[in-house]
Amino acid sequence: MLIAPIVFLDPNMMQTVLLYAFAAAVLGGLDSPVGAVVGGIILGLTITLVGRYVPYVDSTLKLPVALLLIIVVLLFRPAGLFGRVSVRRV
C-alpha cells in the first residue's frame, strides 16, 4: 500500500515487489522479525548499489539478482541470517 504512489496502483503492481520481499525475508530468516528488517535493508542497498556500479548488471537484472540471492541463501544457510536452525528427525 505504501509503495502504490511510486509504482502506481494497478492489479499487477505487487509481483516484482513480492519477489524482493521474499528475498529479504529469506535473507533475514523467515521466523525472525528483526531479520526481515535487516534483510530488507541489506537487499535494497545491495541491489541498488550493484545495479548502479557494476556495469554488467543494469536495472533489468535487478530481479534475477534478488532471485539468485534467495537461491544462494537457501542453499547455504536455509535459516537466513537471524533465523533459528532446526533439525529434522528422520
Binding site: 516484482t16 533489468t60 537484472l61 530481479l63 534475477p64 532471485l67 537461491i71 542453499l75 528422520v90
Partner: protein
C-alpha cells in the same frame, strides 16, 4: 492387469481418432484453438510427471516454456532455421535448463521449492530484456508465419493443429512408457517417502533432477509451438501468470489421468481466451454481477476455480472421472 492395459489402449485410440477427425468438423479458427489446447496439454503432461509423480512442485514452468519459445525465435530469426526443426532443439535446451534448476531444487521442498520456482517465473522475463541484442529485448522477435512444408495443401491453422497434436501424442506415448517402467515407479517411491526410497538404494537426487529435466523438456516444446503459432515472442508472451495457470490446470485436471490432463489443458485455454464468455455466464449466477468487458476476469476465475477444486475435487476432474467409472472398471480389475 491386462484389462487395465486394454482400457488405456482403448482410450488412447479414441484420442487419436478424435484428433484426426476433429478439424473436419470444426471451423478453421477452432482448429487453431484446439492446437493451442494441445500445446497446454504437452506442458501439463510434463508438469504432471514432475508434480504428480516425483512430487516436486514448480510454479515456474512458464520460464521453461519461454526458454523453448525463445530458442525457436532466435534460431529462426537469427539463423534462418526452419520452424519445425527448432522444436526438438528448443525442447532440449529447455530440458537442460530444467536439469540445472533441478540440482538446487534438491535442497528444497514444499513451500520453499514453490516459492523459488515462482521466483524463477518472476525473474526470468528480465533476462531476454538484458540480452536484447539477440533476443529482441522488450520489443521481441517477429517470426515467420506458420506454413505447411513440402507444399502440402492445408491451411496454416490445420497445419498447426496436426503438428501440435502429432507431437502431443508422441510425447504422451513416451510419458506413458516412462511412467509404466522403472522411472515412473521410482518417482512414485520418491514422492511417497524420500527417506524410504533412499534407504532402498534408489538414487534419489538423480531421479528428482531427471524429473525436472524431462518436465522442462516438455514445457520447452510447448513453448516453442506457442512461438510458432503466434509468430511472435517477447517477454510478455510467457508471463508469470502462465506458470500459475499451468499449476491450476494440473490441479483442476488431476495429474494422473489422460482425461484429466486434457480437461486441464482445455480449462486453461478456454478460461484465458474466452474470459468474456465466462464473465457473461457468471453474470447469470445469483448474487454475482460481473461486467463482461472488465479485464482481469481470467485471474479471478482461475483463483475461484482453484479454491473450489481444492475444496471439492482434490484429485481433479480426472480423479472424479475415475471415481465415477469405478463401478464399471472395478469389475475388470477384480481378477487382478
Amino acid at each position: 492387469m491386462k484389462a487395465k492395459l486394454l482400457l488405456e489402449a482403448l482410450s488412447f485410440a479414441l484420442l487419436v481418432v478424435a484428433v484426426v477427425l476433429l478439424p473436419h468438423h470444426v471451423s478453421d479458427f477452432h482448429s487453431r484453438e484446439l492446437a493451442t489446447v494441445g500445446m497446454y496439454f504437452i506442458a501439463l503432461v510434463g508438469l504432471g510427471i514432475l508434480t504428480g509423480y516425483s512430487g516436486q512442485i514448480s510454479l515456474g514452468h512458464g520460464a521453461f516454456m519461454a526458454i523453448g519459445g525463445y530458442t525457436t525465435a532466435i534460431l529462426e530469426v537469427n539463423h534462418g532455421v526452419r520452424d519445425i526443426w527448432t522444436i526438438p532443439i528448443a525442447g532440449l535446451v529447455a530440458g537442460a535448463a530444467g536439469l540445472l534448476v533441478g540440482i538446487p531444487a534438491l535442497r528444497l521442498s514444499g513451500p520453499y521449492l514453490a516459492l523459488v520456482t515462482l521466483g524463477i517465473a518472476i525473474a526470468f522475463p528480465q533476462l531476454p530484456k538484458k540480452y536484447g541484442h539477440f533476443t529482441g529485448g522488450t520489443t521481441g522477435e517477429i517470426l515467420n508465419l506458420p506454413k505447411a512444408p513440402f507444399g502440402l495443401h492445408t491451411t496454416p491453422n490445420h497445419w498447426l493443429y496436426y503438428l501440435t497434436w502429432a507431437i502431443a501424442l508422441m510425447l504422451l506415448v513416451c510419458a506413458w512408457v516412462l511412467l509404466r517402467t522403472k522411472p515412473g515407479r521410482t518417482w512414485q517411491a520418491v514422492r511417497d517417502s524420500e527417506t524410504a526410497a533412499a534407504a532402498s538404494g534408489i538414487g534419489v537426487p538423480a531421479y528428482k533432477t531427471l524429473a525436472f529435466g524431462i518436465s522442462a523438456f516438455y514445457a520447452g516444446i510447448a513453448g516453442s509451438l506457442f512461438a510458432i503459432a503466434t509468430s511472435f515472442v517477447n517477454p510478455d508472451t510467457y508471463p508469470i501468470v502462465l506458470s500459475i495457470f499451468l499449476v491450476v490446470g494440473l490441479a483442476v485436471g488431476g495429474a494422473s489421468s489422460l482425461a484429466g490432463l486434457l480437461a486441464g489443458a482445455a480449462f486453461v485455454y478456454y478460461l484465458d481466451n474466452h474470459a468474456d464468455a465466462v464473465a457473461r455466464w457468471a453474470d447469470h449466477l445469483p448474487f454475482v454481477s460481473v461486467n463482461p468487458q472488465q479485464s482481469g476476469i481470467p485471474s479471478v476465475a482461475f483463483g475461484a476455480v482453484l479454491i473450489l477444486v481444492v475444496l471439492l475435487l482434490p484429485t481433479g476432474v480426472g480423479g472424479l472421472l475415475h471415481r465415477l467409472l469405478r463401478p464399471l472398471t472395478s469389475r475388470l480389475y477384480s481378477r487382478s
